[in-house]
Amino acid sequence: MQRPSGLLLGVTALVLAFLTAPMLAALWLSFSPTELLRFPPPGLSLRWYADFFGNERWVLATRNSLIVATATMMVATALGTAAAIGLHLGNFRARGLLVALLTLPMVTPFIVTAAAMFFAFSTVGLAGTLPGLVLGHTVVAVPFVLITVLASLSTFDATLLRAAASLGAPPSLALRRVLLPRIWPGIAAGAVFAFATSLDEFVITLFLAGPGQFTLPRQMYANVREYMTPTILAAASLLFLASFAFLLLTEALRRR
């Protein structure tokens, strides 16, 4: 297959259209001046975005989402980076097992992770609390941090640390001045991953959030079931643009 055949390109174009069209359609409909979800919308307006930012419930949900995502990002990045550094520099037999264990939440059905966390957190009184929710999101966010940081560590030459030590730098200084400046793009990409994961997370939130703790996905879910308005599409479009920005950010970090 030196050059892709016309058939292959045609099928690919169709599948890519199928992949992108629904989101573009929803994006367009969110600018509709009427409540009807008809195509094409009879014009363009920011009515539903004004509704979104003027509605207390949506604003509160956005704030909750940002709080949980920021907290998750900080905890998951700290834990994931520490684990990755330890796993990379350490020389012990259970290394592969530990990586498998830490990335297990990626291949476990989300609903099972969520239910298991609900049972565990209920027994210690963490279910329905903000720390509980952040911890729950952290569990599914850590694997992404771990993997991105491990990837950037794989290009790091560990002899540099030994050189630093031989020059008299204590480990903490070597870590700060030698290791971190070289792997920070990986850590930053991991942090973006963690933030995005938490922002999108729904199933764990469904089980672990308290009655008043509405995040954006939870608010969207509640509203869709109740009454579908273009305001929900405005919320979806904002989240979509956020994830698009995250994608560009990680791509830029990958290039560094």
Partner: protein, 354 residues
């Protein structure tokens, strides 16, 4: 159970299981049920027993309310209140439920139950829902996986074969939906599938339908939206494998006189199989535990195991059932991972989020 009825449990432990338990058990039960009702602790016990044997809730509540008025010997006054207290089965049920562990939920999750004598048999046909549910989950997941692999393979192959600016552009079109949230994309589908929505408009315009169809709440909607949501998950591992393939194999095949179709079938396809296995397995893993999309665009009859886990946890407060269903779901996922490791020789795809 053990906390609410400790003395009843102790008294029943000494019972040989024939005839009826000793008076001490009757007395302890009446006393402890009344106390549990007083302190509002009776709900858990009555729900637990009612799940195993419908009607137990009413029996326990009735007994608890009447207990303060009853007098010894309870072995006569309790059966006088309700004839079920003179049946050994009722007492065996309580004794069995008092144990620290029970197989009840694990059995019920595969439509089996235990008779009071401890025999395992299938539940009544009208209660048998879970085997159908697991088969439906398996079936939907398989369809979604096959569709994602079949639709995704050409995209991955094209991305691997295209030259730089075009390959990055195509990859971006896969990455954007991959990064955007499942909830956002499911919501978009929900809007598009409305009775007055764009999909119905298109169907009418193309003459494929005479009147707007009810699309939300159908199996078709679930499959369509789930395939859309999981397609990037299938494509990305395949892209990873295919871009790393040695193109010289194909040139060699061509130089040896193989037609493009033969080269594709005998060289390109087998070489890309690890990617197909990884992408397919990842898609299947996410599909068996899928919650959001079916919950949003599906009807009551299209829900998968995940939805029932959530229902038992949040609505019915039946933790035992949701834990049992989770265990089977986890076992299904574990089996897929094990199969994948065997097929690909220990390479698991990483970097996939959903």
């Amino acid at each position: 159970m053990a906390e609410t009825l400790p003395r009843t449990r102790a008294a029943l432990a000494a019972w040989d299981g024939r005839d009826l338990p000793p008076e001490a058990a009757f007395a302890a039960l009446a006393d402890e049920l009344a106390a549990a009702l007083e302190e509002r602790r009776i709900g858990d016990v009555s729900q637990r027993l009612n799940f195993e044997q419908p009607g137990m809730r009413a029996l326990l509540l009735r007994t608890a309310r009447a207990a303060p008025r009853l007098a010894a010997p309870y072995a006569q006054t309790l059966p006088a209140l309700d004839a079920r207290w003179s049946e050994a089965e009722t007492w065996k049920l309580i004794r069995r439920a008092g144990g620290p562990t029970t197989s009840l939920y694990l059995l019920r999750a595969v439509d089996m139950t235990r008779t009071p004598d401890g025999e395992i048999r299938a539940v009544a046909p009208d209660q048998a829902v879970f085997v159908t549910l697991f088969l439906r989950t398996l079936w939907v997941s398989l369809i979604v996986t096959v569709a994602c692999v079949v639709l995704g393979w050409p995209v991955a192959a094209a991305i691997a074969a295209l030259r730089p600016p075009w390959s990055s552009a195509a990859l971006l079109l896969v990455l954007v939906p991959f990064w955007s949230s499942v909830m956002v994309r499911s919501t978009a589908w929900f809007a598009l599938l409305q009775r007055e929505g764009p999909i119905n408009d298109a169907l009418l315009l193309l003459g494929l339908a005479d009147a707007p169809l009810q699309l939300v709440g159908t199996r078709f909607a679930v499959l369509l939206a789930t395939i859309h949501v999981l397609l990037p998950v299938a494509i990305l591992p395949m892209v990873g494998v295919m871009t790393r393939l040695d193109r010289r194999h194909l040139q060699a095949a061509a130089s040896l006189g193989a037609s493009p179709w033969l080269a594709f079938r005998r060289v390109w396809l087998p070489l890309s199989l690890p990617g197909v296995a990884a992408g397919g397995a990842m898609t299947f893993l996410l599909a068996v535990g899928f919650y959001i999309t079916p919950a949003l665009v599906g009807g009551e009859r299209d829900q998968l195991v995940a939805w029932f886990i959530a229902q038992f946890l949040n609505r019915d407060v039946n933790w035992g059932m949701s834990a049992a269903l989770s265990v089977y779901l986890l076992a299904m996922a574990g089996a897929v991972i094990a199969l994948l490791r065997v097929l690909t020789g220990g390479v698991t795809p990483a970097g996939v989020r959903a």
